[in-house]
Amino acid sequence: MNDFLQTVDWSRAQFALTAVYHWLFVPLTLGLSVMIAIMETRYYRTGDEELKRMTKFWMRIFGINFAIGVATGIILEFEFGTNWSNYSHFVGDIFGAPLAIEGIMAFFMESTFIAVMFFGWDRVSRRFHLAATWLTAIGANLSALWILVANAWMQYPTGCTFNLDTVRNEMTSFGDVLLSPVAVDKFTHTVTSSFALAAVVVVAISAWYLLHGRERLLAKRSIALASVFGLIFSLAAALTGDRSGAVVARYQPMKLAAMEGLYDGERGAGLTVIGLLRCEESRSSNSDAFHFKIEIPKMLSVMSYRDSEAYVAGINDLLAGNPDEGIMSAGEKMRRGREAVAELERFRQARDAGDERTMEEIRRKFDPSTEEGESFLREYFAYFGYGYITSPEELVPDVPLLFYSFRVMVGVGTLMIVLFAIVWWLNRRDRLERRRWLLWIAIMAVPLAYMASQAGWIIAEVGRQPWAIQGMMPVSVAATDIGSASVATTFFIFLALFTLLLAAELRIMFKQIKIGPDKGDDKE
C-alpha cells in the first residue's frame, strides 16, 4: 500500500474516531435538552420547587455532556478542511452552506441561551429563563438539522450541477438539498432515536436512585416523564427507520444489499432476522453467504418497495449488472466515469497548450443547457466518481460490519420500546420500585442504547464506502495528501485526548449521580 492510500485510511480512521466520540455526547444532549425544557415548563406552571430541583439536576448532567460534545464537534467541522481538502473544494459550494447556516441560526441560539439556562436563575425572570431553556433545546436540535442535511447530501447528492470552469459541483436548488428524502429521513430518524437514548439514560439514573432508596420522588417523576418520552420517540424511531429502508433501497442499493448480506437479487426477498455470515472468501451467492439464518419471507421487498414481489438488487447484480432489472454493471459505470475524467484531463492539456478550440469543444460537452451537454452529463459525468475506481470489488462495503450493526440497532431499538412500555406501566401503578431486576435491566440498557446509536452511524457511513459522496467522489480522491505519518500522529493525539476526557467525563457523571441533586457543584 503506498503512502497516500495509508493517508486515506488514517484520515478515515481519524474522522471516524472523532465522530464516534462526538456521538457519545450529542444524542444525550439533544434529548435531554427537550426533557429539561418540559420539566421546567411544569415547574413554571405549578411553582413546585421539587420540579425546579429536578430540572436543575438534569441540567447539570446536560452541562457535563454538552461541553465535550461541543469540543469534539468543532474538530469534525475543521477536519473537512484538514483531512478532506479535495472534498472541501469539490463540493464546498453545496456542503459549506448548511454548516454556515448551522452556525448562524443554531449555534448562536444554543450558546447564547445556555448561559442564561445555567446562570440566569436569579438574574432573569422565570419566563425569560424558561424561554432560554426552550431556545437552548431548539438550538441544539436545529444544529442537528443542518449537519444532518449536509450528511444526507453526501449519501444522496442532489440539487447541484458540475461547473467545468470552477471544476466543482455547484448548488442549483437549496430546496432539493434541504428537503431531499434522505435529508428528511436522516433528520427525523437521528433525532427521534437520540431522544429515545436520552430517555434511557434518564430512566437508568432514576432506576439507580430507586435501587438505593434515594431521591424517590425525583426518580419516579423523572421516570414518569422519560418513559413516556422514550416510548413515543422509540416508536417514532422505528417508523422513521422503516422509511430509511425504503430510502436506502432507492438511493444506495449497495448499502442495503451489504446490510442484508444479499448477494443475488430476488423478487419477494426475505428479511434476515438473525444469521451468521461465512468468511469473506466463502461468500459469493445467497446460497453460501450464511452458516445459518432466520428470515421473514418477502419482508425485505415490502420494507424496501412496499411491494411483496418487488425486486431487491443484490451485490452481484450491482457489480455484474442485471439488464432484466435495468441495473448497469459496475464495469460499465467505471468505463463511463473514466471517459468523464479523461475529458477533464483533455481540458487540462488544452488549457496548458492554450488550445482554445478544444477547450470550447469540451465546454460544450459539460454545458447542461445544450443537448450534447445534457446527454454527456447524464450518460457519462453522472458516473464521474467511478472513473477513479480500479476494481468493481472496491464498491462493496464491509458486509459483516453492516450486517451485524444493523441487527444490533434494530434489536436494541425493539427492546427499548418494550422496556419503556413496561417501566411506564409499572411506574404508573407504583410497582416499579419493587421490581429490582427490572431496575437493573434499565441500568444495563444504557450501554446497549449507545451501541445501537453508534451502530446506526456505522451503517450510514461504512455503508457509503468507498464513497465520500455517493457515486461522485471516492474517499481516495477526497483526502488531503499530507502524509500518513502526520495523520497517524494526530490520530493518536486525538485518541489519547478524547479517551482522557471521556474518562474524566464519566467519572464526573458518576460522582454527580452519587451526590444527587443537592450541592452537586461543591468540591470534595
Binding site: 469534539t72 478542511g81 472541501s88 464546498g92 448562524i104 446562570f119 438574574r123 464526573i508
Partner: protein
C-alpha cells in the same frame, strides 16, 4: 460590479465582521491567560472564571461560524489553508478543545485531572489560542507556501490534490516570519487588555478592579508596539493583486494603496485605533466603561484590516510558491447561487446580534460579587 462580484464583496464583509467580532471575543482567552496574575486566591479565580465562563461559548461559536462561513463562501481557501497548514489548525483546535471541557469540569468533584490541570488548560488556550489565531490571520497578508490547480483532479491514478502545500512544515513555517509573530503578539496582548477592561466592567470587587486597572498598561504597551510593527510592515511591503483578467501581479505597498483607494477603510482603521487608545486611557483612569471603547475599536480595526486584505482585487491569501495560485475573493468564492442563498440567511444576523446583546445585558446587569462566587448555584 455585477451581482456575483457584489455577493463576493458582501461575503468577504461578513467573514471580516465575524473575524473582527472573534478578535473582540478573544477577551475570554485573554482573561484565561492572566488568570493567576489577577486572581490571587481561589475565590478570586472563581469569580474570574465565572465571568469569562458565561461568554466562552459565544467566542467558541463565533470561531465555528467563522470557519463555517469561510467554508461556505470561499471553499477554495478552506480546502487550501486547512489542508495545507494543517499543523497550525490542529494546534488551534486542540487548545480550543481543552478549553471547552475545562470550564465545565474544573470545579466538579472527581474530575480526574484536578482543578489545577483544568486551569492550566485554560491558560494554554488563553495564550496559544490567541497567539496562533493571530499568526494564522497574519498569513492572509504575508502569504503561504501553496499551489492550486483545480484540474489536478483529472489526474486519475496520479496525484489528484487540487491544493498542494510546498513546505513540509504544513503551516509551522509561518512562525519563521516575524510579521506573523507581530500580529500574533498584538492579538495576544489585545485579548488581555480587553479581558482586563471586561473584569473592571463585570466584577464587583475593588481588589480585582484595581489590579486590572494597573495591569492594563502592561498589556496595552506591547499590544500597541506589536500592532504598529505589523501595520508598518504590511503597509510598506508588497502584496498580490489580481488584474482584470485574473492574472496576479505583485505590487509594492499594495495595502497602503488599498487604504488610499478605499478611504472609508482608512477612516475606519484610524477610528478603531483611536477608540482602542481612548479605551486604554479611560481604563487607566478607572472607568468601568473602557471595554466598550476598546471593544468597539477592536472590531473597527480588525474589520478595516481584513477588508483591505480582500477588497480592491487584492489576493487575500497570497501564494509564496506560485503567485498565480494566490486566492482572491473572485477566484475562490462559491457560486452566485450559493452566495445569494446564504445572503438571504444572513438577513437573520442582525436578529442574532440583537438577542445576543439583549441576553448579554440581562445577564450582566448585576456584577459578579464575592458572595455569588461562594453560592451553591451552578458555578464554573
Amino acid at each position: 460590479m455585477d451581482t456575483l462580484q457584489l455577493l463576493q464583496h458582501y461575503w468577504w464583509f461578513v467573514i471580516s465582521l465575524l473575524g473582527a467580532l472573534l478578535v473582540f471575543l478573544l477577551f475570554v482567552q485573554g482573561g484565561q491567560g492572566i488568570l493567576y496574575a489577577i486572581g490571587r486566591d481561589e475565590r478570586e479565580r472563581t469569580m474570574i472564571v465565572n465571568v469569562l465562563g458565561r461568554k466562552w461559548e459565544t467566542t467558541f461559536t463565533t470561531l465555528v461560524t467563522f470557519g463555517g462561513a469561510f467554508f461556505a463562501s470561499f471553499p477554495l481557501f478552506y480546502s487550501t489553508s486547512f489542508g495545507g497548514a494543517c499543523y497550525v489548525w490542529f494546534a488551534i483546535l486542540l487548545v480550543f478543545v481543552i478549553q471547552a471541557v475545562a470550564y465545565e469540569f474544573r470545579r466538579k468533584p472527581s474530575n480526574l485531572l484536578g482543578e489545577r490541570t483544568y486551569e492550566a488548560f485554560l491558560q494554554i488556550n488563553g495564550i496559544a489560542g490567541a497567539l496562533l489565531l493571530g499568526v494564522a490571520v497574519a498569513t492572509l497578508f504575508t502569504g503561504a507556501d501553496f499551489t492550486v490547480d483545480r484540474l489536478n483532479i483529472a489526474d486519475a491514478g496520479g496525484n489528484t490534490a487540487i491544493s498542494r502545500w510546498t513546505s513540509p512544515w504544513h503551516g509551522l513555517e509561518a512562525l519563521a516570519d516575524w510579521r506573523n509573530w507581530a500580529l500574533g503578539l498584538a492579538v495576544l496582548f489585545l485579548s488581555r487588555l480587553l479581558a482586563l477592561h471586561y473584569f473592571m466592567n463585570t466584577i464587583d470587587d475593588e481588589t480585582i478592579f484595581e489590579r486590572s486597572r494597573r495591569r492594563s498598561l502592561c498589556a496595552a504597551m506591547p499590544m500597541v508596539v506589536s500592532l504598529l510593527l505589523f501595520l508598518g510592515a504590511i503597509l510598506l511591503s508588497e502584496g498580490h493583486r489580481a488584474e482584470a483578467d485574473g492574472t496576479i501581479v505583485v505590487e509594492p505597498m499594495l495595502y497602503l494603496h488599498n487604504f488610499a483607494a478605499m478611504p472609508y477603510l482608512a477612516v475606519t482603521l484610524a477610528a478603531g485605533v483611536g477608540a482602542v487608545l481612548w479605551g486604554i486611557w479611560r481604563g487607566w483612569r478607572g472607568s468601568r466603561k473602557a471595554i466598550w471603547w476598546s471593544g468597539a475599536g477592536t472590531v473597527m480595526t480588525v474589520l478595516a484590516l481584513l477588508l483591505s486584505a480582500g477588497w480592491n482585487s487584492t489576493a487575500y491569501y497570497p501564494s509564496l510558491a506560485d503567485a498565480q495560485s494566490s486566492l482572491t475573493i473572485a477566484s475562490s468564492s462559491s457560486s452566485e447561487f450559493t452566495l445569494r442563498t446564504m445572503a438571504y440567511v444572513s438577513i437573520a444576523v442582525p436578529f442574532v446580534v440583537g438577542y445576543i446583546w439583549w441576553t448579554w445585558r440581562a445577564m450582566n446587569s448585576r456584577r459578579m460579587t464575592r458572595s455569588e462566587a461562594e453560592g451553591d448555584e451552578h458555578l464554573y
